[in-house]
Every structure is written in structure tokens, then in C-alpha cells.
């Protein structure tokens, strides 16, 4: 029997959104209930929602990191993560400063709750592909520690968040993808550009 004290999807979304805003990180969010939750969590000028394009949020964050020379973050669910492992490998290949947060609730919840078995450890997959560090958390305290680690360790890092299915879902975001992309682009342009290496 599991002894985890699980972090809710809504709490995860609020915490990551606030951390990214506080640290000035652009945040890309994979599609599904997580995107809805982040949109519901508050003002997100610094957020790009991938309402479609499953599995691509980390690769977009990698492109932003390469172009800006600064750290970025990607938040996605387990289904997105499995589909987008090529993006994870690309981040690792170039050692880009992407904090990659994977919410593992063990299923495809937005499509009806189909169950998904965890293929070993997501945390270990991050370092196996070449990330500088990775952590596994199951609580708000653990998440805070991992996000603090992301602020101090350079290079790509993966935070594997243990979640659970069956939580209520937020409403769909009303922002269209083009509107969101323009908003995200404007937010990025207003930041002080960093040298591109």
C-alpha cells in the first residue's frame, strides 16, 4: 500500500505558475487537465499553453531557452511525457536550462481515465537521457525543495511529481492558441535579452 501524501493537480499548477512568475521563467504547459488547471490558477502572461500538440511542451521550452539564453520550464502530464521523449532527449543533448516537471497520476484522465502503468522511474529516465539532475516529489514541501534546486543548479532538471487520478478538473481556457502565442511572445520580448550561445 502506498504511503504517499499526494500533491493535488490544482496545487501543483498554482505552485509552478507562481514559481515561474517569481523567477522570471517562461513556462510551457502540455495539453489536458494540467493546462486547464494552470489557466485557472491565475495570470499567466509568461505561460504558453499547448492546447494541442501533445508531448511538445518541453521541446518548445528548449527552443525558448536556446534563443533567450535563459532558464525556462515545462509542465506536462504523464501521457504527454511518454509521447514527447524525443523532446526530453533533445533538451539533454544540448544541456539546455529547462526545468521539466512531469505530473504522474497514472492515467489519461482527460480522455476518460484510462489507466497507465508507470514504466520504471520517470525521475531516473531524466538522468539516463542526460539531464543534470532529477528529483521525485510527492508533497508541497518536496516540490518547493525541488524548485529551489532548479534555481541553484544549472542545466536541465526533471521533477517527477506523484499525483493521483479522480480530482475535479478546471474549465477549459478561453484563450485561443494564436492569442496565447502573441501574449507569450510579447512577454518574452519585454524581458532583457540574454546572449545566445
Amino acid at each position: 500500500m502506498s504511503s504517499y501524501v499526494r500533491l493535488s493537480r490544482a496545487d501543483l499548477a498554482r505552485s509552478v505558475l507562481a514559481w515561474a512568475a517569481r523567477t522570471g521563467r517562461p513556462l510551457t504547459v502540455g495539453n489536458g487537465f494540467l493546462a486547464r488547471e494552470v489557466a485557472a490558477a491565475g495570470d499567466g502572461q509568461h505561460v504558453l499553453f499547448l492546447l494541442a500538440g501533445m508531448g511538445l511542451a518541453p521541446a518548445v521550452a528548449a527552443g525558448v531557452a536556446k534563443a533567450s539564453g535563459g532558464p525556462t520550464a515545462a509542465l506536462e502530464g504523464d501521457g504527454n511525457h511518454l509521447m514527447g521523449l524525443a523532446g526530453t532527449a533533445t533538451i539533454a543533448l544540448h544541456g539546455l536550462p529547462v526545468t521539466h516537471i512531469v505530473h504522474w497520476n497514472g492515467g489519461w484522465e482527460s480522455t476518460g481515465g484510462q489507466c497507465l502503468l508507470e514504466p520504471g522511474s520517470v525521475r531516473d529516465a531524466g538522468v539516463a537521457l542526460g539531464y543534470a539532475w532529477s528529483a521525485r516529489v510527492d508533497s508541497e514541501t518536496g516540490l518547493r525543495s525541488a524548485l529551489a534546486l532548479a534555481d541553484t543548479v544549472s542545466g536541465p532538471g526533471l521533477i517527477h511529481v506523484i499525483g493521483a487520478m479522480g480530482e475535479p478538473a478546471a474549465a477549459r481556457t478561453v484563450l485561443s492558441m494564436p492569442e496565447n502565442a502573441r501574449q507569450f511572445r510579447s512577454w518574452l520580448a519585454e524581458r532583457t535579452p540574454a546572449p545566445c550561445t
Binding site: V60, G63, A86, T90, L93, G130, V137, A181, R185
Partner: protein, 181 residues
């Protein structure tokens, strides 16, 4: 919180080829220069090797694990204000359709593609031809404007190609240079 130890990773820099630039490669590089491309990212293709060597002389050449990740990477670069080109074999176009349609086109972020047209012209390998025969129709169905860079006769007009690529970018649409083998 539990932490996994990191493993060392090594990367080799891409060394520009000393070979002279082919006519087809010159057209591709000419278009990329006119569009202000600063990076190229993608998956290598043997039939694009001369083109990739020529691009590497001009801008950093980056590699992705798969073509759809390269398209998403380019979307991120474009949103951050830096133009890039995505290179791939036409087989990778199939892998990239969701990235191109559900991300780049849906979000109205322009992407410039350089696609090796395996299975056309002198490339008669059966497992290439099956994709080669469908490449142009696939681009059209996906709403991706394109021009063909030829290997025989005139390779193409850099000015005209650049104008069409720039027009597509202004309309937030993808554009592809399709390079014959």
C-alpha cells in the same frame, strides 16, 4: 524528495565541411540568409548532406532526437524572437504533421522547413518512392507552401523563393524548401 545522480554526457561539435558548396545547397543557404535565419535544427538526411554542410558554414547546426521535436524547438525560438530553419528527410514530415498543424499552424507561428525529397528523381529505392510520391500532396494537404530546389538544370531562384518564404512568414504560415536528391 529523492534525487537521482546525473550521468556525464558528451557532445561533439559539428565541423564545417571543406567541400565546395553545391548549386542546390547554395540556393538553400541563400534563402536562409535572406530570411535572417540564425540557427538550423533538425534530423540529418544523407541526401541533404551537402545542404547541411553548407548551412553549417553559415549558422549553428543543431540536432534533435526527432523531427516533431525540432519543429516545436523552432516554434520556441521564433516566439523568443530568433528565426531558425528545420531540416529533415521527407519521412520526418509524417512524424512532424501534428507539430506543424496542431502547434505551428494552430498557434500561427511561422516555421521554415528544408525537406529532403527522398524517393524522387534519381532516388528510386522502393521504400523511399512510397513517401516521395506523396510528399508534395502531403505538404499541400497540410497547408504548407513550398518550392522545389532542383539538382538538374537550374536549381531555383533564391529571390523568388525568399519572397515566397517571407510572405508565408508574414501570414504566420509554414513554408518548405523541398530539395531533390
Amino acid at each position: 524528495m529523492t534525487i537521482a545522480p546525473a550521468l556525464p554526457i558528451t557532445q561533439s561539435p559539428v565541423t564545417p565541411s571543406p567541400e565546395p558548396v553545391t548549386e542546390a545547397a547554395g540556393v538553400v543557404v541563400g534563402v536562409l540568409e535572406r530570411l535572417g535565419v540564425e540557427f538550423a535544427i533538425g534530423v540529418a538526411d544523407s541526401q541533404l548532406s551537402d545542404v547541411l554542410a553548407a548551412i553549417a558554414k553559415q549558422v549553428p547546426l543543431l540536432f534533435a532526437a526527432r523531427e516533431d521535436a525540432a519543429v516545436a524547438f523552432a516554434v520556441g525560438m521564433e516566439l523568443a524572437g530568433r528565426r531558425s530553419a528545420v531540416f529533415m528527410k521527407n519521412a520526418g514530415l509524417g512524424t512532424s504533421l501534428d507539430s506543424l498543424i496542431s502547434l505551428a499552424i494552430a498557434a500561427e507561428v511561422p516555421v521554415l522547413l528544408v525537406v529532403g525529397w527522398a524517393g524522387s528523381g534519381r532516388d528510386t529505392l522502393a521504400h523511399h518512392v512510397v513517401m516521395g510520391d506523396r510528399t508534395i500532396a502531403l505538404l499541400a494537404a497540410a497547408g504548407i507552401e513550398h518550392d522545389v530546389v532542383r539538382r538538374s538544370g537550374s536549381p531555383g531562384d533564391v529571390t523568388a523563393f525568399s519572397a515566397r518564404a517571407a510572405s508565408a512568414a508574414r501570414r504566420h504560415r509554414p513554408y518548405a524548401l523541398v530539395v531533390e536528391p
